[in-house]
């Protein structure tokens, strides 16, 4: 289960980088249909999340993300990026 800090930071990325209206940021919101992100955005979303949380997100997992909740969970599960000091459990 993703903690609130991760949820807040992912939501902040959605607002800042993808200009999603805050009111749309429900966990069940679908990235494509509800938030308007496309495949190009998907790549940059992963890059932004990796940078924000200092994690390395698996490409296959990234491709399977459909909802915001799945994105929160993916970030939570992802291992720290090589060379980073991040704690994968605590972030």
């Amino acid at each position: 289960m993703a903690d609130q800090q991760i949820i807040d930071k992912v939501n902040a990325i959605m607002i800042r980088d993808f200009e999603v209206a805050p009111a749309l940021l429900a966990p069940e919101a679908r990235l494509k249909e509800d938030l308007g992100l496309d495949s190009l955005d998907g790549v940059d979303m992963v890059v932004a999340a990796e940078r924000e949380f200092a994690v390395r997100i698996d490409e296959e997992q990234a491709r399977s993300i459909r909802t915001l909740q799945e994105l929160y969970d993916c970030v939570t599960r992802s291992p720290p990026a090589p060379g980073s000091d991040a704690n994968p459990e605590g972030h």
Partner: protein
């Protein structure tokens, strides 16, 4: 052969981001060049002056279009939208298969390229590189992004010939319409300024260095005290349209592209030669069906370099002697690189419409090597309707447009 009307114009430049602002700067003798003291931190870079576009709001462009735009494409997109609005092009025209986009730039976004290589070399890897990055640096980034924003579906061409890019874009667009290969073409160019772009000229000793503390005194086209190019950034876009079509829809016609020519002086990569510059100008005039002395105005490329200005002056001297007024508007704008050709075509049209030919800013004492021309040292009120505008680029590229206006 079909005639080519100019039915729309848009621009972002160091002297203004609208026709009105640019006209005010021209008539007021206002330079767009400013000091760049922050460039002193770039090792060995000696030129610390540039012409920058004043702040604009990129959020005027929808995010899904903006995300693939570097600074040059942002400026081009806004200029293109201005031009489309100015030309009152309707959605049906924009999506017609006979409407195309031909934009030029020296290269893709220099700022993004710097970022890419900085990140790549720091980690010797690609982690963290955004998927939208390539679309900001690819060779046809300006054309592609303009088309994406406007929703065009016809031909898309990206032209890259450094400082002649947009001259060639406008010229090619003209030829295509003349020969029935398109009815409406959105054309022009854009480039941005970064220390690495200035470095290109600085390492050749061709960038202005002596006026870092008095930036509005440079560049000095044709002047005895000139010391080189001052790079500027910007975007300039023209709507070219088949004349009968423009008339049928009641478009406001700013002018006409009468002729165009381009050639290549393959004798030297960077050193301009007067003979082929003159040949290019003559060829453009032949294509327009007019004689050299029919011209009312010549807008010179004249970037303020020692060799380039002298070669161009020799070409103009051989072409028309002192019979036709000559000025170089780079004294106001600096050198807009891939955007300069389209920008200077717009400035020619504006001056002819306004009935005042503006002088070369900072031209105080004509270099004897550049003498024998009718240099404009002050504004000249006159009824001008035929202009020649030329640009030259590394690679020996020469390009000349013949414009009718007024």
């Amino acid at each position: 052969m079909r005639r080519v009307a100019i039915t729309g114009m848009g621009m972002l430049s160091p002297i203004g981001n609208s026709r009105q602002a640019v006209a005010a700067a021209l008539s007021g003798g206002v330079s767009g060049i400013r000091a760049m003291p922050e460039w002193a931190a770039v090792g060995d870079l000696k030129s610390h002056v540039a012409g920058l576009v004043s702040p604009f709001d990129p959020h005027q462009i929808p995010r899904t279009c903006r995300r693939t735009m570097g600074r040059l494409s942002l400026m081009a997109a806004l200029a293109a939208r201005q031009a489309v609005d100015d030309g009152a092009l309707d959605p049906e025209t924009l999506t017609s298969p006979n409407t195309g986009v031909i934009m030029g730039s020296t290269m893709g976004s220099v700022e993004v390229l710097d970022h890419f290589f900085g990140q790549f070399h720091a980690q010797h890897g690609i982690n963290g590189l955004e998927g939208t990055m390539f679309m900001k640096v690819m060779g046809h980034t300006v054309s592609a992004n303009v088309a994406n924003l406007l929703g065009t579906r016809g031909q898309l061409l990206g032209l890259s010939s450094a400082c002649a890019s947009s001259t060639q874009a406008v010229g090619l667009a003209c030829q295509m319409i003349q020969h029935g290969l398109g009815d409406v073409i959105i054309c022009g160019g854009a480039d941005e300024v970064q220390p690495t772009s200035v470095a290109v000229f600085d390492v050749l000793g061709a960038a202005s260095r002596r006026y870092n503390h008095s930036p509005t005194s440079t560049p000095r086209p044709f002047d005895l005290q000139r010391d080189g190019v001052v790079l500027g950034e910007g975007a300039a876009v023209l709507i070219l349209e088949e004349m009968d079509r423009a008339r049928r829809r009641g478009a406001r016609i700013h002018g006409e592209v009468l002729g165009y020519a381009t050639n290549c002086d393959s004798s030297h990569m960077t050193q301009p030669g007067a003979d082929l510059i003159e040949a290019c100008m003559r060829q453009a005039l032949v294509s327009a069906g007019i004689q050299p002395r029919d011209l009312h105005y010549i807008n010179a490329h004249a970037t303020g370099t020692t060799l380039g200005d002298a070669a161009e002056a020799a070409a103009i001297r051989a072409l028309v002697g002192d019979a036709v007024p000559v000025s170089a508007t780079k004294g106001y704008t600096g050198h807009l690189q891939g955007a300069c050709g389209a920008m200077e075509a717009i400035l020619c049209l504006m001056m002819m419409q306004d009935g005042v030919l503006q002088p070369t800013l900072n031209l105080e004492q004509v270099d004897p090597q550049c003498a024998g021309l009718a240099h404009l040292l002050k504004p000249l009120a006159c009824r001008a309707s035929l202009a020649l505008s030329s640009n030259f680029a590394f690679g020996g590229v020469n390009a000349s447009l013949v414009l009718a206006g007024g």
